[in-house]
Homo-oligomer: 142 residues x 3
C-alpha cells in the first residue's frame, strides 16, 4: 500500500539528515538515527553489526578509510511501504562518491539498500539496514 | 499546470519500480510498463522501436552488452505536466552507471528523457519514450 | 518546521526548471530565477557575485569552459525550511557531470549548496546562493 505524500517527504527528510551526519563522519549522531538494537548488514562480505555500541566501534575502526576525502551518498528510486505496526520498509539505490584534495571526484561504490524503520517517540529510526553492494558476482537483489 | 503531491509521488514510484525491473534486465516486466503499442526512440542513432514485441526483440539482442555488469539508472529533475485526457508528459535527467566484478563503477551515459504516459485500468504506462543522449554534437533538447 | 508536500514539490520543480536553463547555458533565463539583487558565492575561491547584471557578466566570461560539453547538475538530499516571512532556506548536495563529443561522461565537481529563497509576485526566486565545493581542505559545511 502506498504511503501519504506527507509521510513520503518525512522519510526523504530523514535520509537527507542521516546522510549529512554520515558524510560528516559524525558517528554519534549517525548511530542515533538507528534504534538501540539497530543493525547494519553487508551480506557481500558476510558482515552484520548489531546495536549502536557495535556500530560505533566498527565505524571508528573504519575512519582512516575516509580521511582526506569528502564522501557523499547519492540516493534514488525510493520505494516506501507500510510494514507491521507503524513500521516502514524502504528500499533505494545508493551511489557513493569521494572527492580528494585535488578536487577530483571518484566513484566509491554502487549499491541497493533495504531499511526496516520504526517510530520511537515520534521519530523515525532504522532497526535494520541491509546494504547490497552492486557486483554481478552477487546478483542483483533490489 | 502543476500536478498534485499524490500524483507526483505516484509517478516517482512508477519510475522506482520501472528502473528496478530494467536494471534487473527483466524484459517481460519492463515492457509491461509500456502500452502494447508503446515506443522507445533514440533520435541520436535514428532509432524508434514500436510495440512491446519489437521492444522485447531489441532488448534481447542487446543483453550481451549488459552481461557481467550491474547497470543502474539514476534520475533527477523531474517535471510532470498534465497532457491530453488523463495523460502526463514527464521529462527528467538520466545518468547510467555500470559496476563490474572488480567493484569498479563507471559512467555509461548521460541523457534527458521525455515520456508520454497514459493510464490503463488505473495503472500508469508509457506510450512514448524519447531518450536524448547527451552529446554536444546533437545539442541539448531537455 | 517542516513544509507541506505541495511546497516541497513546488521547490523541487523550481530546481528542475532552474537546472534545465543553467545546463542549457541560458544566462538570461537562469539569472531571472534570482532576485534582481540575488547573489552567488563560492567561498572556496573567495568569490561572491552580487546582482543579476554582475552574474550575467561573470557567466558570459565563463562560457568557454562549458563549450563542447554537455553539463548536468544532479541534486540530492534536499532540506527545505521556512525562513523569515514567506522565505525558505534550502540545502542540498550537488554533483556536476560533463559529457564530451565522444560520449564520455566525467565528474566536474561535488558540492553542497545553501539557497535563501523569497517569493516575488508568487514566484520563488533565489536571493542568496552559497556553493560549498567539496574538498577535505575546506572541511564539510553541509
Amino acid at each position: 500500500m502506498s504511503v501519504t505524500a506527507d509521510l513520503y517527504i518525512e522519510v526523504k527528510n530523514f535520509y537527507a539528515r542521516q546522510m549529512r551526519v554520515l558524510d560528516d563522519l559524525d558517528i554519534e549522531r549517525f548511530t542515533a538515527t538507528f534504534t538501540e538494537d539497530g543493525s547494519v548488514a553487508h551480506p557481500h562480505r558476510g558482515e552484520k553489526v548489531e546495536g549502536r555500541e557495535a556500530m560505533r566501534t566498527k565505524m571508528k575502526s573504519m575512519l582512516p578509510m575516509y580521511e582526506g576525502l569528502v564522501t557523499r551518498h547519492w540516493f534514488d528510486h525510493f520505494l516506501i511501504e507500510q510494514a507491521e505496526g507503524d513500521g516502514l520498509r524502504v528500499t533505494y539505490y545508493s551511489l557513493v562518491t569521494q572527492t580528494n584534495t585535488q578536487d577530483e571526484v571518484h566513484f566509491f561504490s554502487s549499491s541497493s539498500v533495504e531499511d526496516q524503520m520504526v517510530r520511537e517517540e515520534g521519530e523515525l529510526r532504522i532497526r535494520e539496514r541491509v546494504i547490497h553492494r552492486d557486483n554481478p558476482k552477487y546478483g542483483r537483489v533490489i
